[in-house]
């Protein structure tokens, strides 16, 4: 056989837990899809606002600003849990991953409890009028995403606690943190729109 030029890659690692892993990229792109969905929802919110005289409609009780703002605290802190877990995943520290994930879960649960309490305050629903439709849609979609990610996190806790923490699972923990950062990051503008929007662009 004639010689050819060769590149020997046998020395390269068979896995990688960092931002260079394809799974990480894939997850970022999925977040981009969700993100553009929320951006369009925000556009819908303001478009609908432009079409009516009163925003929110008379008598509509909106999300409570104080409660919403307090709820940001556990949400932002939960990012620390996420970060801790993902760093631990890179270092292959099982206890670190568990600690981080559980911290994340607990704080997220606190946030969701506050959200549901706040959500219950609304005296309108999706079928009341267009304003109700858009507010409920935003809340529903974001909560749906959060619950889905929390279920994923719970699954990760169970898997890691059961002792299965190979590279695949560690990458899962790392990628889970990306999703969580995204859900926190996208909530901030949504919080601004839902809580402060009516005050900024409201009235008549």
């Amino acid at each position: 056989m004639t010689p050819v030029r060769t590149l020997d890659v046998s020395g390269l690692p068979p896995y990688n837990i960092s931002n260079r892993a394809p799974t990480w990229w894939g997850q970022v792109l999925l977040c981009a899809i969700e993100g553009s969905m929320f951006c369009i929802l925000i556009a819908i919110y303001f478009y609908l606002r432009l079409g009516v005289d009163f925003w929110p409609p008379h008598g509509a009780r909106e999300l409570d600003p104080t409660l919403s703002s307090i709820a940001l605290l556990p949400l932002l802190l939960s990012a620390i849990g996420s970060y801790w877990a993902s760093e631990a995943a890179k270092k292959d520290s099982r206890s670190g991953m568990l600690g981080g994930l559980i911290l994340n879960l607990v704080l997220a649960a606190v946030f969701l409890a506050l959200r549901f309490a706040n959500w219950g305050r609304l005296n309108y629903n999706w079928a009341s009028d267009a304003h109700g439709s858009v507010v409920w849609t935003i809340l529903f979609l974001h909560t749906f995403d959060m619950v889905a990610d929390l279920l994923f996190t719970i699954a990760l806790v169970i898997i890691v606690a059961a002792g299965s923490s190979g590279p695949k699972q560690r990458l899962g923990v790392h990628v889970d943190s990306v999703v969580w950062y995204f859900l926190i990051g996208i909530w901030l503008p949504l919080y601004g729109v839902l809580v402060w929007g009516p005050r900024l662009v409201g009235g008549s």
Binding site: G59, A60, N123, Y124, A127, S128
Partner: protein
């Protein structure tokens, strides 16, 4: 190549679909028997829906047909039922949603009510509206109360809702 067997199966199914399909029942042209109009006699005699000549009909021929419900909805405002009943919530006339039915909720009862009229203001529409449109109205009124299949009932209309819940 197994993907070919799949595709041929899909093709066969889809071709069937294209040629064998029946649209969701949508009757553009009413059957001649349904064009009948019940004259003023309807008010006095105890004529049954369906007309003297045709078989007494106590079931709505349009039961469960989405298109008939939507036609009924249009006629409800066209024939100014809204003038008294608003969008079903009731005004001068009684509400048509979630009420105790004074004269019954069966299609034949509603049909009678529309044809013969009722005391205290409900005019007799017999003699004016052809039978098929009365049945469409019946289907619509029943759909307001969830008495028509859910899959045929629209969830909202393009006007202000006649909701019973009120905002504090």
């Amino acid at each position: 190549m197994s993907s070919r067997s799949l595709s041929s199966a899909t093709a066969a199914m889809c071709a069937l679909a294209l040629f064998a399909c029946q649209p969701e029942k949508q009757q553009l042209r009413p059957a001649p028997a349904q064009v009948a109009v019940f004259g003023d006699a309807a008010r006095e005699s105890d004529i049954q829906p369906g007309g003297r000549e045709s078989q007494p009909q106590v079931t709505n021929p349009f039961h469960g047909e989405a298109d008939a419900i939507s036609q009924g909805q249009r006629l409800f405002s066209w024939y100014n039922c809204t003038g008294c009943h608003a969008n079903g919530g009731g005004a001068i006339g009684p509400p048509l949603i979630k009420m105790e039915w004074i004269y019954g909720e069966e299609p034949s009862n509603l049909f009678d009510t529309i044809v013969k009229g009722r005391p205290n203001g409900m005019p007799a529409w017999g003699g004016r509206i052809p039978e098929y449109q009365i049945w469409q109205l019946v289907a619509y009124i029943r759909s307001l109360n969830g008495l028509e299949p859910q899959s045929a009932t629209p969830k909202r209309q393009d006007h202000i809702e006649a909701t019973t819940e009120t905002r504090p």
